[in-house]
């Protein structure tokens, strides 16, 4: 198993919100480091890979502790907050990766699965907002949810699922 593959496997164990934001960059940085050390002798390269993997395991523990002990409002400053709307330009896969959604497990077309996931997310957000007595936010989630439900219906028709 190559160093990069082990690195990727370890990254999957990180909190999903953290991984959604940083995984690609971390892999990129690690690969660049590998390329640099690979041009040297074997021993420094092996030392580099081992050092990185140990660092990743330490980081993994630290990140889980941080996730479990940090207030969500504070954490939301650096990591995606699922109660917020998906900002323009951010792909669905990235935004909902934090919710642990795996579109590959579903037999539905990707577009339909994403729209359904969005309905579930909006419903959840609406309930949370209403529980927090933030009725203005709840109302906006509600309107958004109606629009998304229409989209699901349209897509189901398009794919002949109804």
């Amino acid at each position: 198993m190559s160093g990069v593959r082990v690195f990727r496997v370890l990254l999957r164990l990180y909190p999903s919100d953290y991984a959604a934001l940083f995984a690609d960059e971390m892999i990129n940085a690690f690969e660049q480091g590998c390329n640099e050390y690979r041009s040297q002798r074997r021993a420094p390269f092996v030392r580099f890979v081992v050092r990185e993997l140990v660092g990743l395991i330490i980081g993994l523990i630290a990140e889980w502790i941080a996730k479990l002990t940090t207030d969500t409002s504070t954490r939301g400053r650096s990591l995606p907050d699922l109660r917020k709307m998906r900002p323009a330009g951010v792909p669905y896969e990235l935004w909902f990766a934090a919710a642990g959604t795996n579109y590959r497990q579903t037999s539905l077309p990707m577009e339909v699965a994403q729209a359904q996931e969005r309905v579930r997310f909006l419903l959840n957000a609406r309930v949370h907002a209403a529980t927090d007595r933030d009725f203005q936010a709840a109302r906006s989630y509600c309107y958004e949810e109606y629009r998304e439900r229409d989209k699901v219906r349209f897509l189901k028709k398009k794919y002949g699922l109804e």
């Binding site: 990743l56 980081g59 400053r77």
Partner: protein
Amino acid sequence: MRHVIQKPDVTKTKPLTEPVVLILLSLADEPRHGYALMKDIETLSGGRVRLRTGTLYGALRRLLEESWIERFEQSDTSREKRAYRLTSVGRKQLQLELDRLKQLTRAAGSRLARLASEGEGG
């Protein structure tokens, strides 16, 4: 209950850890992406500090949380599109830390000079 986002307290002068100071210093002159940060930190510390990827991104996450740095999309076509830059809060924190270090260096210098003069005198 509504979530209230607490604003980071700029006046907090808790000593910063070495990796954090180095990250802030590295971002002080220009925005950098992950690997460039690691290389620059190594240069800044004269090869003494080599941040591991896990450590670097853990620190970056905390700094983003504190709003000391911000993440943005670089407009160039390089592979690393996302880079980090210092915010005004981060710049202020770095300045406070450097002032603290200067004060400590001054105090240490005067104390060592006094010890040296006492040694010569006695």
